[in-house]
Amino acid sequence: MKKTVILGALTVAGLAAGAAAAATLDDVKARGKLNCGVTTGVPGFAEPDANGVWQGFDVAVCRAVAAAVLGDSTAVEFVPTTGKTRFTALASGEIDMLARNTTWTFSRDVDLKFEFTGVNYYDGQGFMIPAELGVSSASELDGATVCIQTGTTTELNLADFFRSNNISYEPVPIETGAEAVQQYNAGACDVYTTDASALAAQRANFEDPSAHVIMPEIISKEPLGPLVRHGDHEWGDIVRWTLNALITAEELGVNSANLAELSGGSNNPEINRLLGTEGDLGAMLGLDAEWAKRAIGVAGNYGEVFAKNIGEDTPIGLARGLNAQWTDGGLIYSPPFR
């Protein structure tokens, strides 16, 4: 392994994935910090606040994992990644997990060898355009100049959409979301397209959000979720079940208000298994019994995290929609804790 490390540096960095595969949990524990890849800044999803503390819907996943594994939700090193750098960062072991509105696709899972550990937001690609242009449907976009982020699924969906509708466009490839917004606002492109949630999030930061419309068409499926490297299943399980713990907590009515009370024991066995007062699910993960309790304790259950960061009462104002619990007709569904 020694020479692998040295010579790995000589080859293209980040591709000696095999070397970094095993025992991420041990690495994280030894380091005392979780390295979590996030965006370079999308309001509501991942962005440092005025005090430089990262906040957001994706950030909450990182913090929950850190709380479960290390017992400290602040023991996270947030690594900002662009659409271009995120996969290299993960494959090379620079980050332990990626929570950066990343779409689960076949080729990323199978060919790029990543393991998606669930979906924390069911999304689709949308278009945003200044209201003054008076365009109401994406099919009227013939000849438009479109800002896109390179290295995303967005780019490919866009090409497919315009091709199948037989209309032309001019792509303007851009590296980060912030630059894209800058160019869009300067009028260097007519349309900005990305995941609809990110459109809403970025529009919320505009001077005059109401001057921009998000068109009704959703042209793709973008299941966004956290991911880890292929090969380290124990670590994958931890990330997967931490997210599931947040989801299950909402389903079972466990929230930050009643967490302390319920962790004294309740008459619902699944709540007891989740919070570690019954059974030994934590030990099976290689963690202690209270791992899920700590994860939920950071910012509450899935619903609370959603409402606080991107929900209808925030400037971003996203409705639960597809992201409601399955019991409310949504797609958010966790396998049972047993």
């Binding site: 020479k3 692998t4 010579l7 790995g8 000589l10 080859t11 293209v12 980040g14 591709l15 000696a16 994935a17 095999g18 070397a19 595969a21 659409g83 271009k84 996969f87 290299t88 080729s107 060919d111 790029l112 060898k113 242009l133 976009l141 013939d142 000849g143 438009a144 100049t145 390179t150 290295g151 780019e155 490919l156 866009l158 090409a159 497919d160 315009f162 091709r163 466009y169 001019e170 792509p171 303007v172 490839p173 851009i174 590296e175 160019q183 300067a186 009028g187 260097a188 492109c189 007519d190």
Partner: protein
């Protein structure tokens, strides 16, 4: 060295002993070179083998099959036909051509800027020379990426968007008799079209094809050959009679008539850009990303070339200028006939490096979304296929080949300019 080493050289036919490889200076350097070569090869083989083994361990293997698969993404600036169903290989070629386009444009512009600034910096006019040293110091001391970004953001924020050309009282309008539009998405200029293009058929009217341009090129080459003949004839006449015949009208005709004939035959018309829907349509769009990258590379590298030019000129001793002056040559003739031809010998070698720098720095293109080969092959293709090693190796090969070609061409030029010793 060789003289003291071996008294027996060429005298007795001493038989070769193995120890001579080390003791005999005739062989020693060869021995060491050989050892070094073997060591380098062994090291490379070890690194390569390690790479392949590690890749295999990680379940990856080197394969270039992806080059034949559909790319799936669009590219805005397409020198050759390309759409999202074309292959990754073709996307790489589009990127490569885009790299060459910006590199050639920037090299030419940087040379012009550099020569002018370099000569002017030596000017006796205090203000001019100070302005030029200001230019040189400002531009070469700020990283080129910053210049690219500065120029690009000035362009998108200061220039009007296509929307501002709309309406009854537009806040922006086209220039040069309504033929050129300067917008924050680039400059739209009229483009030539041929109504009798070779590729055009009754059913599919085509407005230009490679054949048309080849014909134009052929006309120009023909003109050039004839024009050189004419000036040879003029020189000969001058030598014989002492009087150089006036040839400018002949040369004008030689250049203009065939070209005009060909253009007339092809039916040249101009496609003038026009505001349609979201954007200007028709004509040729020189995109903002190309302009920003081109100018940033040109003014940045121009500052370095200016210094090379100044060094070259200063290397020519003042005595030469004075001697030429004593012979009655005027200052601009002294510069062009005496100083510059000699200075070129000093200027060209570093100029080669500057051209190579431009080519390599053009890979910063993605900062402004210009789709060069680093953006297509080394950017989107790499990301969408995950074939990092393969694409990076190809990229290295591309840049290496381009750089070596530039070096080769410039070295030929340098050899022709070199002092020919008799």
């Amino acid at each position: 060295m060789t003289t003291i080493s071996d008294p027996s050289v060429g005298t007795t036919n001493q038989s070769f002993r193995l120890a001579m490889l080390l003791n005999d200076t005739r062989y020693r350097s060869l021995t060491f070179q050989f050892i070094a070569l073997v060591a380098i090869i062994a090291f490379m083989a070890f690194v390569g083998g390690n790479l392949v083994r590690n890749l295999a361990e990680a379940g990856l293997n080197i394969s270039y099959k992806f080059l034949g698969e559909p790319a799936g993404y669009d590219i805005n600036q397409r020198p050759i036909e390309y759409d999202s169903q074309s292959s990754h290989g073709r996307a790489a070629i589009v990127g490569l051509l885009n790299t060459l386009i910006v590199a050639v444009l920037a090299c030419i512009t940087a040379t012009v800027i550099g020569v002018v600034a370099g000569v002017l910096r030596l000017s006796n006019n205090w203000l001019v020379s100070k302005i030029m040293s200001f230019y040189v110091e400002i531009f070469r001391n700020v990283p080129v990426l910053i210049w690219i970004l500065i120029i690009f953001s000035i362009m998108i924020n200061a220039l009007p968007g296509p929307r501002e050309f709309k309406g009854d009282t537009p806040s922006a309008s086209m220039i040069l008799f309504d033929t050129v539009a300067v917008t924050n998405r680039g400059v739209f200029v009229p483009s030539p079209e041929f109504s009798n293009s070779f590729a055009s058929t009754e059913e599919v009217p085509v407005t230009s094809t490679g054949m048309d341009w080849l014909l134009i090129l052929a006309a120009l080459v023909l003109s050039w050959i004839v024009a050189t003949r004419v000036s040879q004839w003029a020189s000969k006449t001058q030598e014989e009679t002492g009087i150089r015949p006036k040839t400018w009208h002949m040369r004008l005709a030689i250049w203009a008539v065939p070209l005009a004939g060909v253009l007339l035959f092809l039916g040249l018309t101009w496609n003038i850009p026009e505001l349609k829907g979201f954007n200007f349509k028709g004509g040729l769009q020189i995109r903002g990303s190309l302009l920003a990258l081109w100018f940033a590379l040109a003014i940045y590298t121009g500052a370095f070339i200016a210094e090379n030019v100044r060094a070259g000129i200063m290397a020519i001793s003042k005595g030469q200028t004075e001697a030429a002056g004593a012979l009655g040559l005027r200052p601009n003739l002294i510069m062009s006939l005496v100083v510059l031809p000699q200075a070129l010998r000093v200027i060209i070698p570093p100029l080669i490096s500057q051209y190579l720098n431009i080519t390599k720095n053009s890979s910063l293109a993605i900062a402004v979304g210009y789709m060069d080969v680093t953006g297509t092959l080394g950017g989107i293709t790499l990301l969408q296929t995950g074939r990092a090693i393969e694409t990076i190796l190809l990229l290295m090969l591309f840049y290496l080949t381009v750089s070596l070609l530039i070096s080769a061409v410039m070295n030929v030029f340098n050899n022709r300019m070199k002092l020919k010793e008799r």
